[in-house]
Subunit: 333 residues, 2 copies
């Protein structure tokens, strides 16, 4: 009844009376992969409250901005960010044209699958790998290489395509918000061009609503066949303090909903919590070592420590992956 | 008949048969302020062609990206960019708190209304005026000051509010495209925050679809009342070669429609002309010295020289303000 009433999609209220036949109440559950409980109820209550005309907390559609972190919030991020796996895969794909890499670090350790040796190359080595795989090409070449990778590359331990390792309950949340005239954005520390190449079709979030870290680019008229070339110079880091800045830069409005999973998202959640309109903050807590991974305060990837303290203190929603989510990935359904 | 058929808004095709009563053909004209002629026909033919299911040139809604320059394309820009008038007005508004400005350049010349003297201060003086009026405050303070200005400030010779000096035919074009599922963006050399403060309500283009030049900003937690502060450091110049770069950065897709009025828009039009999908380029030519201004190749503001040559050579649309537009500004209606 609660859920049927909460589903504000037009011409779809037949379940509200409870007597409209074929299990209307079930089909109108906007978040079927979330277990019933305080978090699901809080989300649905919030959306119902701020979208109901006449509500004291009504939010105009133009102000219905919802921002989602990507790594760890919309898809998995262990044992390392998937964009880094992309970089390693690309080094291997590019190696035949660079025979010298067999003897040259940091490339040698990638080709040898020697992660210990790679880590010894330090930040300089990692930056070299990122620059080699993320710059020097046109924007179209870069996007097409990523699309090909995302259509074929598999996670080393899960053995699934990376794009299958997305969180079904969060995709439902994105779609539920969209159905209620929220404009949904990704605001991630990941590369903006990396995400745009595959995320639009996977999450249903348009490219221009994807915000991320970026390197600089240059327009080249190229004798009448214009291209944009990616150059090895940092443009913007969309993480921590950079997230509210990125939101202001790309969206120009303070969100009323912000979802993250790590300390890198804390400033984004603080920023949305300072909205004068009613607002909601949600942290995804990785508590499921069986279906996904379990990590928080001491993890080197997706550290969730200060954010966890602040979420507890401010009573932000903390989605407990193990208990709140019926399924984690779409393929479990 | 052409126009009635072209209007693809659903449930609004009653005029097509020509016998549906109360002047349906007139009400379905999507561009009523454009005179009938080659340009209007070309626009309507293009939109009809690319939005008709089954058309060889059909464009998926996700790819229907249209970009508009602002200064000189959506509103006037003479005798100087209106954002510069804002800066001068702000210097005057701030002057009571800066008594020393009465004797200090470049401020003195602004307070004396001495434009000749102000120009003598050169680029350094102009930059000082822009920095003083555009940095050092929070993003919210900046937006609220601009809104107040745009609600009250009048153009020195036209005696109208600046936001009344917008081009009715171009607003109709924006709305016509939106009604046909185009996503419309502003891509302007003007300041992104300056535009976002007033342009959303005037043009019906959401803040996050407004791209412009920017200065850097910083997040400040501010003891739990977070703010974003604008700092005096250039971030991005969205002009000339910067326009395709800005499009790639903010939109992530090549436009199928690009509209401008000056050489500063040429690279944006070239970029959209290189789209593999059917595409359209439109230049607004300022030919109306009576209703607006007449200027092109030799103007210091909105120089239209190389762009005019290329538009003529490539048969891009050139809207002749004097002949193509029934009215220029909304208040003429």
């Amino acid at each position: 009844m609660l859920l049927a009433a909460a589903c504000s999609a037009p011409a779809d209220k037949t379940g509200a009376g409870g007597a409209a036949g074929d299990s209307a109440t079930v089909t109108t559950d906007p978040l079927p992969s979330w277990n019933d409980g305080a978090n699901k109820k809080a989300i649905v209550d919030f959306v119902t409250d701020v979208t109901k005309p006449g509500s004291a907390n009504f939010i105009e559609p133009a102000d219905r901005i919802a921002t989602f972190d990507n790594d760890g919030t919309l898809w998995s991020e262990q044992p390392v960010y998937f964009q880094f796996f992309y970089a390693l895969d690309q080094i291997k794909a590019m190696a035949p044209k660079h025979p010298e890499w067999k003897k040259k670090q940091p490339f040698k350790s990638v080709l040898d699958n020697n992660m210990g040796e790679l880590m010894k190359q330090g930040e300089k080595g990692l930056l070299q790998i990122m620059a080699t795989t993320h710059t020097g090409m046109t924007s179209e070449e870069f996007a097409s290489t990523i699309r090909q990778w995302s259509d074929t590359a598999r996670h080393p331990t899960k053995q699934k395509l990376y794009k299958e390792l997305v969180f079904q309950p969060m995709i439902e949340l994105v779609k539920y918000l969209q159905a209620n005239q929220f404009k949904t954005f990704i605001v991630s520390g990941g590369g903006i061009d990396f995400m745009r190449a595959w995320a639009e079709s996977v999450y249903g979030i348009p490219k221009d609503q994807i915000v991320g870290s970026s390197i600089k680019a240059k327009y080249d008229y190229n004798n009448g066949n214009p291209v944009i070339r990616k150059i090895p110079e940092l443009d913007f880091i969309d993480d921590k303090e950079g997230k509210p800045v990125g939101i202001e830069k790309y969206i120009g409005r303070k969100p009323v909903i912000a979802c993250g999973n790590s300390d890198g998202d804390l400033q984004m959640l603080q920023w949305s919590a300072s909205n004068k309109l009613r607002n909601l903050q949600l942290y995804v807590h990785h508590t499921d070592s069986v279906r996904e991974w379990a990590y928080d305060r001491k993890s080197h990837i997706g550290t969730f420590d200060k954010g966890l303290d602040e979420a507890l203190a401010k009573k932000w929603l903390i989605a407990d992956m193990q208990n709140d989510w019926k399924v984690v990935y779409p393929f479990e359904k």
